[in-house]
C-alpha cells in the first residue's frame, strides 16, 4: 500500500512540475454584479479512484480501485454561495452581458438558457445566505447555472465529473481524507454532523486541501455530472480510464460527493459516493414536483469546473442538457 501511494504521488508531482503561467488561479467576474468566483488550477494527472477494502468504512461502491487519468481544469475554490446562485434564480442581470463576452469558449444566447422557478418555501431554512453555500437545487438546476454562467462570461463552465471531483478532492493523496487517514483531524478541515450544530457553515472557514480547495470534505455535498453507477468501477478494473464520465439517462440516481453537515465523518471520505433520490422532493407539496428544487436536500450544493481545453460547441451541449 505504502509503495503504491508513493508511486501515485510521484506521478502527481511530475505533472505538477509542468505548470506554466497561464495555468494560474483567477477570479471569474460576472457582468452586472461585483460578485466574483475564485477558481483554482488543478493540474492534470493520474490517480487511483475509489478506496481499498482495507479502508475503514469502505463501501462496496467504492471499489475496486482503478487508475484514472484526468485532463487539467480549474475548479471553484469554494462551494457556490447563495449570492451567486441567487443571480441565476433572479436572472435580472442577463441584459448586462456585454456585446463581446470576456471569454471565447462559448457563444450562446443567454436568453436561451432555462431559468429556475422561484421556490414557494424559503430554501436556506434560516441557516444563512451571505457567504453560505446554496443548497436544495436539483442537478438540473446546477447544470443550468453553469450554462448561464458560461453564456454570461464566454468561458465554458460545467459540473465536475465524478472522477474529476475525486481527483480534485484527493489532491495527490491516497488516504481516506486529503489530510491522511486520521478522522480525528477532520474538525480542522470539515463540517460534519459532529461539529455543525445542525446547520451548514460559511464556505472557506476550514483549512483547504493540498490544491487549495475548501470544504471538499463536508459542509454541503456536491453535485457531479455522473449517473450514480454503483458497479461501474468493476468495468474499469486493471485498465486506465481517461476522463471517465457515466452520462445519466434518467433523473435518479446521480452521484453527489464529499458528504455534508448532516453526515457522520466516514461519509466525508474522498472515495465516498452517494446517490440522489426521489425522496429528496418528498415534502414538495406540489404536483408536478419542482424541476429545480429538492425540498428535502438541505445537504446538497455544488461547485463548478472549467476544463483547460474547452469542448467543441457540439460537445458543450452534452454537459448542459
Amino acid at each position: 500500500m505504502i509503495y503504491k501511494t508513493v508511486i501515485i504521488f510521484a506521478i502527481f508531482l511530475s505533472f505538477n512540475q509542468t505548470i506554466d503561467l497561464n495555468e494560474a488561479p483567477y477570479k471569474q467576474s460576472i457582468p452586472g454584479t461585483s460578485e466574483k468566483i475564485d477558481m483554482v488550477y488543478v493540474p492534470g494527472g493520474s490517480f487511483m479512484m475509489g478506496s481499498p477494502k482495507s479502508e475503514k468504512n469502505h463501501f462496496g461502491d467504492e471499489g475496486p480501485q482503478h487508475e484514472v487519468e484526468i485532463a487539467p481544469f480549474w475548479m471553484g475554490k469554494y462551494e457556490i454561495t447563495w449570492e451567486l446562485y441567487e443571480l441565476f434564480v433572479a436572472r435580472e442581470i442577463d441584459n448586462k452581458k456585454p456585446e463581446k463576452a470576456e471569454g471565447n469558449d462559448v457563444a450562446i444566447d443567454v436568453d436561451g438558457v432555462s431559468g429556475a422557478t422561484a421556490p414557494y418555501t424559503e430554501m436556506s431554512f434560516g441557516m444563512g445566505t451571505e457567504g453560505y453555500p446554496a443548497i436544495c437545487m436539483t442537478q438540473l438546476a446546477a447544470v443550468k447555472f453553469c450554462k448561464w454562467l458560461s453564456a454570461m462570461t464566454g468561458n465554458f463552465y460545467r459540473l465536475p465529473t465524478e472522477a474529476e471531483w475525486e481527483y480534485a478532492c484527493r489532491a495527490g493523496t491516497n488516504s481516506a481524507y486529503s489530510f491522511g487517514d486520521d478522522a480525528s483531524l477532520l474538525d480542522e478541515y470539515a463540517w460534519h454532523d459532529g461539529n455543525s450544530n445542525g446547520a451548514y457553515k460559511k464556505v472557506g472557514v476550514k483549512k483547504p486541501n493540498p490544491f487549495g480547495l475548501h470544504d471538499m470534505h463536508g459542509n454541503v455535498s456536491e453535485w457531479t455530472l455522473d449517473k450514480y453507477a454503483p458497479t461501474e468501477y468493476k468495468s474499469r478494473k486493471r485498465k486506465k480510464s481517461i476522463n471517465p464520465y457515466v452520462q445519466p439517462t434518467k433523473t435518479y440516481p446521480k452521484s453527489v460527493r464529499g458528504g455534508a453537515w448532516t453526515d457522520s465523518k466516514s461519509r466525508l471520505r474522498s472515495a465516498a459516493r452517494r446517490p440522489s433520490s426521489k425522496q429528496w422532493k418528498k415534502r414538495d407539496p406540489q404536483i408536478p414536483k419542482s424541476l429545480w428544487w429538492h425540498t428535502d436536500a438541505p445537504f446538497v450544493g455544488f461547485r463548478i469546473v472549467r476544463p483547460e481545453t474547452p469542448p467543441s460547441p457540439e460537445e458543450q451541449k452534452l454537459y448542459w442538457n
Partner: protein
Amino acid sequence: MKSNENLTRRNFVKRTTLATTGILSATLPIDAMANVYAEKKLKIALVGCGGRGSGAIVQALTADENTELVAMADAFPDRIEKSLAGIQEHFDGVKKIKVNPKHRFSGFDAYKKAIDMADVVILTTPPGFRPYHFEYAIANDKHVFMEKPLATDPVGIRKVLEVAKIAKQKKLNVVVGLQRHYQKKYTDLYARIQDGQVGKIMSGQVYWNGRGVWVRERQAGQTELEYQMRNWYYFNWLCGDHILEQHIHNIDVANWFVGGYPTEAQGMGGREVRNGIDHGEIFDHHFVEFSYANGAVISSQCRHQTGCMNKVEENFQGTKGTVSTRKGTIKNLDGDVSYNYSGIENPSSSMKNKGGGNPYQVEHDKLFASIRNGEVIADAENGAKSTLTAIMGRMATYSGKVITWDQALNSDLQLMPEMMTWGSTPPTLPDSEGRYKIPVPGKTKFY
C-alpha cells in the same frame, strides 16, 4: 347520484333515530348506521387544479387505498389537463387515475358539479373563492380538505365561521392546510408549552421573509379577468396579499402558541422593490405588531424581496423560557437548552427521518382516518380566525391605523364578488399604463 343516496340515507337515519329509536335498533346495529364511511370507496373531487391542488390529491389518494378521484374542477381547462397528467405521472400506473372527460369541469361554477359527485372534496383554488366553495361543500354534506387562507376579506371570513359551525353540527371533517399543526416538531413544542415549560408567552417574532413567488406575465389576447385569474397572486380579491397567502402560517403559530387571537394590530408596509407592471396591487413587505388580551405582543414580518435576509420561522419568549421553532428548542431564562426536538426532518445517510412524517401527508392521513372512524376534525374555525388575523394585519399596514379584532371581524370590506362569470368585470382594473391602485398608508381607508 350515489352520494345523494347516501345523503338521503343519513338524513333518514337521523330523523328516524329521533322518532323510532326502538324499531331501528332492533333491525340494524346502530354502529353500522352511524358511520356510512367506514368501509365504502370514498369518492374525491378536486376543486382548483394548480400545483398545490394536484399535490393534495396525490396525498389524499395515498392516505387511503379505497379512494377514487372522480371529478376535477378549475376555471381553466388547460390547468385540469396539466394537473391530471401530473397526478398520473406521479402514480406511474401503480394506482389507476381515470377521470372521465365529462367529469372535468371548467369555469366559475364548475365547483358545484365536481363537489356533487364526491364524498370528500379538496378545495385548493385561490383563496378568494374558498368561502363559497366551502359553503357549498358543507351544505351538501361533504368532508373537506381546504388550503389556507380561507378567505380574502371579512365578509368571506364571517361566511366561513358560520359554515364551520354547521360542519360541526353535521359531524363533517374539515382539515385546513395549516400543516404546522400536523408537523411533529411543532406539536412536540406545543405540548411542552401546554405543560408550562415556557411559562406564559409574552412576546414573539414570526417571519416569512423570502424572495417572493412566481409571476405570470400578461399574454396577448387575454381578457383582463383571465389575466388576473392567471396571475392571481398579485390581486387582493383572489389572493389577499402575501401577508395572508404565505405569512398566515407563522401568524397562525403565534395564535396557537399564545393561546388566543389578537385584540388589535398596527403596522407598516409598502411596495419598494417588487413594484413592476406584472406585480398587480400587493405590497412587497409588511411589519405588524399584534397585541393579545393577556399583554403578549407578537412582531410579524413578511417580505418578498430578493437579495435580503431570508427567514421563515417563529420565536417566542415566555415567563419561564424561550422557544425557537427552527431549531426545535426550548431554553430556560439563563439560555440553557432544556428541550431539544431530536427528530431530524430531512433524509440523510446518517440522520434517519425521525420527524413524524411529511406534514402534507400527515394531514391527509388524519383526515381519512377520522372519516373512516366516524370522528370529527374541525379545523375551519381556527383557520378562519388565523386568516382574519392576517387580514387585520393587512388592514393595519394598508391604512397605517390601529385595527381592532372587532373592527376587522365586523368590517363590511368585501373584495371577492358574490358571483363571477367570464363576463364579469374584475373588482380592480388597471389605469391606461396598466398599473393598479396601490394602498397608501394614511390615506387608504381601512382597506
